[in-house]
């Protein structure tokens, strides 16, 4: 009702995804930080994943908006 929830979802995960991707890039040489995640830079991977998901949601939201106006 009223709002298309795909838009806030897409926006939030894009923002969080951006945070974590940037943080992951900045800390990528920090072996101590990622020792507990078995050496995997989880922040970078999660960040990229969330950016993708957020992007898809935003795209779907935009598509819905477009089809409403045609």
């Amino acid at each position: 009702m009223g709002i298309d929830i795909k838009f806030p979802i897409g926006l939030m995960f894009s923002i969080l995804g951006l945070f974590l991707t940037v943080y992951g890039l900045f800390t990528s040489s920090d072996a101590m930080l990622y020792s507990r995640s078995l050496g995997v830079n989880v922040n970078l991977w999660s960040g990229i994943g969330m950016l993708l998901f957020g992007g898809i949601m935003l795209f779907l939201a935009w598509k819905s908006k477009k089809s409403k106006h045609t």
């Binding site: 929830i5 939030m12 995960f13 995997v40 922040n43 999660s46």
Partner: protein, 577 residues
């Protein structure tokens, strides 16, 4: 206070803050659409099926459930999936195909209201009052559990966490009503999946994948006296109660969990059904549980598998994975998930994981408050305290105000219930026990109402009471082996012992449902049906026109979706037999 050594950094807090900004923002954005009670309490009946579907299962993904299921994964292995597969999917499919047409088609605004339309006022009243009390208690318990967890694990002040979380829930439900609760449940679903996915992947990587997990489980499980692959199978060892850690046989699982307990919960609990009722059309309403069923079937891989991994970690000295102990020297299984977060997640995704947990707590609270609002406003206030005057506009405004006030009232009472929970440690178990004593009879009564024209109001009311009474008596004369408090049963006499609590629960529900059905049947045959056929149209199977969905493309039809769901269920059952 248990020292779990959690230290959060600025990025973790930043992630939490972003999440809460969006939660409140969604509530704020919805404010201007809250023009009347229908918009506030029923989401204007305008939700798309996918939104309602995800909210449908998200309501059930409360933190207590998440923490409990991960802990159960460690304690029982893949057998825990019975709560997600046989113990949920058949009921959801049944609700979607056979019950939603009556819930939705009758234009009832709540489950108690359906009871009034189909039966009579006293049946509605009984259900409404019981439900309202139970749901607010449940909200309070979620609140308490959140505050305690945050105190024990993160060192946050108990009262501050409690009041702050209550304030956030109050804010977004006051502003946007049911719509706000539902949209935030969808947001919560995604953040739970994304927040917890890393620990599934990392714990499996750590243990050498699924095969590595199975290999390392074998000696641990054999050491407990079970066959080595018991933790990664679901039905294989249910031939006898002693062969599996749940302590039940397959027919107990089938009839108790698969039928009575799950149908009693998924088909009658207004908290859940309300999400399906908010859909924009009957087809969407029928598809809601089916759409929810698909992710529901895969949630075990997100929540239960890490629990199983945790069991291996606990028994592997080099990993440094230890569960905090309680006063009796037993590991606190509920903390499994939080210790897994600590084990594998560095700052950044750790904040995401904690946010996921916080989100699921609050969503549980908001869901309960939104269900309470609707039942209070329509079934209690509008029915007994101040009926409509006939002036539609002033009525609409009045009930909207009442709905909003009920939100505040509901949150305040929840806070009270939270403090009550802090005094009585067993309140969670107590509530769940009472809930199942109420739900099982309710299912029998609603089922007979939907499929048997002859069932009458007197019968339904008596059936509900009789079922509840039998459940109480059964609980009073039986107890699970090794029970140490009367909350678990045996308070009338210790006449019969069940090997485990779960078996006792199953049988309580089975007796309650059967009694309720029999009493409703018998009393219906001896009382007059007060409702005319015209009044019952749309409420009973024999008096409702068959659903025509030929105009809907085949892949959107409820029957096609239902078949897809059952196929996936069968494949998963075979894979993990």
């Amino acid at each position: 206070m248990v020292d779990t050594g959690f230290v959060l950094s600025w990025i973790d807090y930043a992630i939490m803050i972003v999440y809460f900004v969006f939660v409140l923002g969604i509530g704020w954005a919805l404010k201007r659409y809250m023009k009347d009670a229908n918009a506030f309490l029923e989401a204007g009946r305008s939700m798309p099926a996918w939104v309602a579907g995800l909210a449908f299962i998200s309501t059930n993904l409360g933190a207590l459930e998440v923490m409990g299921m991960t802990g159960s994964g460690a304690k029982y292995g893949m057998l825990t999936t019975h709560f997600y597969w046989i113990g949920a999917i058949p009921a959801m499919v049944f609700l979607a195909l056979f019950m939603m047409p009556f819930y939705y088609g009758s234009k009832a605004r709540s489950v108690p209201e359906y009871l009034k339309l189909r039966y009579d006022e006293k049946t509605r009243g009984l259900n409404a009052i019981l439900f309202a009390v139970m749901t607010i208690l449940a909200s309070g318990i979620s609140m308490y559990a959140l505050a305690i967890l945050m105190e024990k694990v993160l060192g946050w002040n108990f009262h501050l966490s409690l009041l702050l979380s209550a304030a956030i829930v109050l804010a977004y439900t006051y502003l946007g009503g049911l719509s706000s609760a539902i949209y935030n449940e969808v947001l919560q679903f995604f953040i739970i999946v994304i927040g917890l996915l890393p620990i599934v992947l990392l714990s499996l990587k750590d243990l050498g994948g699924w095969n590595g997990l199975q290999d390392q489980l074998a000696p641990i499980v054999s050491g407990k006296g079970f066959a080595p692959d018991t933790w990664t199978t679901t039905w294989k060892y249910t031939g006898s109660a002693r062969a599996n850690p749940l302590g039940v046989e397959w027919y107990g699982i089938f009839a108790g969990l698969g039928f009575v307990l799950s149908f009693g919960y998924w088909c009658t609990n207004f908290l859940i059904v309300q999400r399906a009722m908010s859909a924009h059309s009957l087809t969407a309403a029928r598809n809601t549980p089916l759409i929810g069923a698909i992710p529901k079937m895969f949630i075990p891989f997100l929540i239960i598998v890490p629990g199983i991994a945790a069991l291996v970690l606990m028994n592997t000295p080099g990993k440094g994975f230890v569960l905090p102990m309680n006063e009796a020297g037993q590991p606190i299984w509920d903390y499994t998930i939080i210790m897994l977060l600590k084990q594998y997640l560095p700052a950044g995704v750790l904040g995401l994981g904690i946010t996921a947990l916080l989100a699921s707590f609050m969503s549980g609270m908001a869901g309960n408050v939104s269900a309470f609002n609707t039942v209070w406003t329509y079934d209690i206030y509008q029915s007994y305290l101040r009926p409509p005057t006939g002036d539609k506009t002033s009525d609409d405004n009045h009930y909207l105000k009442v709905g909003r006030l009920a939100t505040v009232f509901g949150v305040l009472v929840s806070i009270g219930a939270a403090y009550l929970a802090s005094l009585f440690g067993n309140i969670m178990d107590f509530l769940q026990t009472i809930f199942s004593m109420i739900n099982a009879p309710l299912f029998a009564v609603i089922f007979l109402g939907m499929f048997w024209k002859q069932s009458t109001g007197h019968a339904a009311f008596t059936g509900l009471l009789a079922g509840f009474l039998i459940a109480l008596i059964h609980h009073g004369i039986t107890y699970p082996e090794g029970a140490d408090t009367l909350v678990k049963g045996g308070w009338l006499c210790k006449c019969y012992a069940y090997p485990v609590e779960m078996a006792q629960n199953f049988w309580t529900a089975i007796y309650a449902c059967t009694t309720s059905a029999l009493v409703t049947l018998v009393v219906s045959l001896s009382t007059k049906q007060k409702k005319t056929d015209e009044e019952l149209k749309g409420l009973v199977y024999s008096l409702t026109p068959k659903i025509k969905d030929d105009h809907v493309p085949w892949y959107k039809r409820s029957t096609s979706l239902a078949i897809l769901v059952l196929i996936i269920l069968t494949v998963l059952t075979i894979l993990f037999w």
